[in-house]
């Protein structure tokens, strides 16, 4: 009986969770005011801030905005370790014509769907929700 606490301490599972983020969140509402054919590059930058990337497409251009969230969960039981990692972005690309007028806005907001899980859980299940 005196050894029971030692055995319990040795056998007790270890677990951890961690959360990391890359860049500042992109407010979804901030792209609602962007109007293709009307909004200018200056107005887009005023609404979204500085992009992480600017791409030249001939005379045209495209700006890239990214916020990424990662959640990790792990469980260790003596010699067995289970770790799951889920990464999902909020991503926006805005396209401009040769006069720096907005032509297209493409957005994906999935960072809020990032979740803690273990390896046997299906992470694709929530992708289309």
């Amino acid at each position: 009986m005196r050894l029971l606490p030692v055995l319990l301490a040795a056998l007790a599972p270890g677990c951890f969770i961690s959360r990391t983020a890359l860049n500042d969140p992109i407010p979804e509402a901030s792209i609602e005011g962007l109007v293709p054919g009307v909004s200018t590059a200056e107005e887009v930058v005023a609404a979204l801030g500085a992009p992480i990337q600017v791409v030249e497409l001939g005379e045209r251009s495209a700006y890239h905005y990214l916020y990424r969230r990662q959640k990790r969960a792990g469980l260790t039981f003596i010699v067995l370790t289970f770790i799951n990692e889920d990464n999902r972005p909020d991503r926006v690309w805005v396209f401009f014509d040769e006069n720096d007028v907005l032509t297209h806005v493409a957005s994906t907001f999935s960072a809020d769907d990032t979740r803690y899980a273990l390896p046997w859980q299906n992470m694709d299940a929530g992708d289309d929700e």
Partner: protein, 154 residues
């Protein structure tokens, strides 16, 4: 009378093994999920003369956008699913040197989709495959070299 010391020794041995075993033997199951996968069936919803706006509306924001010759351009989507089932055994040989054996089963690599557009933003064609291969092939057409490393990053 003799059974009790025997049980104690067994319990001590089990406790010692439980404490010491993880340093030389370990097994793991690691799973990684990055971004939303796109299926070939998703692209069947595009109209025949699909425009950039149709693709962006259907697929969302791409991972990368880059310029091609003659004012053409391409956009890429990527996703990553990986499962590692592995074990590790380390055996000390001398006081200063040891040997270890490691086995990993990497189930998947990063996959991707690249869509190619002409200067009028009309979809010319698309290609599915491993993202690294797609970007390597597509970027060889690009007028700006040196963007491969950047494009390969998530």
């Amino acid at each position: 009378m003799n059974a009790r010391p025997g049980r104690t020794r067994l319990a001590l041995a089990l406790a010692a093994a439980a404490l010491l075993l993880p340093s030389c033997v370990s097994f793991g199951w690691t799973r990684t999920h990055t971004d939303t996968a796109i299926a070939e069936a998703d692209l069947e919803r595009l109209p025949d003369d699909a425009h950039l706006s149709d693709c962006l509306a259907l697929l969302g924001a791409p991972l990368r956008v880059w310029e091609l010759p003659d004012d053409d351009f391409a956009i890429a989507y990527g996703w990553f699913r990986e499962q590692n089932l592995g074990g590790r055994v380390s055996v000390p040989i001398t006081d200063f040197y040891g040997a270890s054996f490691r086995y990993d089963d990497v189930g998947n690599r990063a996959h991707g989709l690249v869509l190619f557009f002409d200067e009028d933003e009309r979809l010319r064609h698309w290609r599915f495959g491993f993202l690294r291969d797609l970007l390597t092939g597509a970027l060889q057409e690009a007028p700006v070299s040196g963007t491969l490393q950047e494009a390969a990053q998530f």
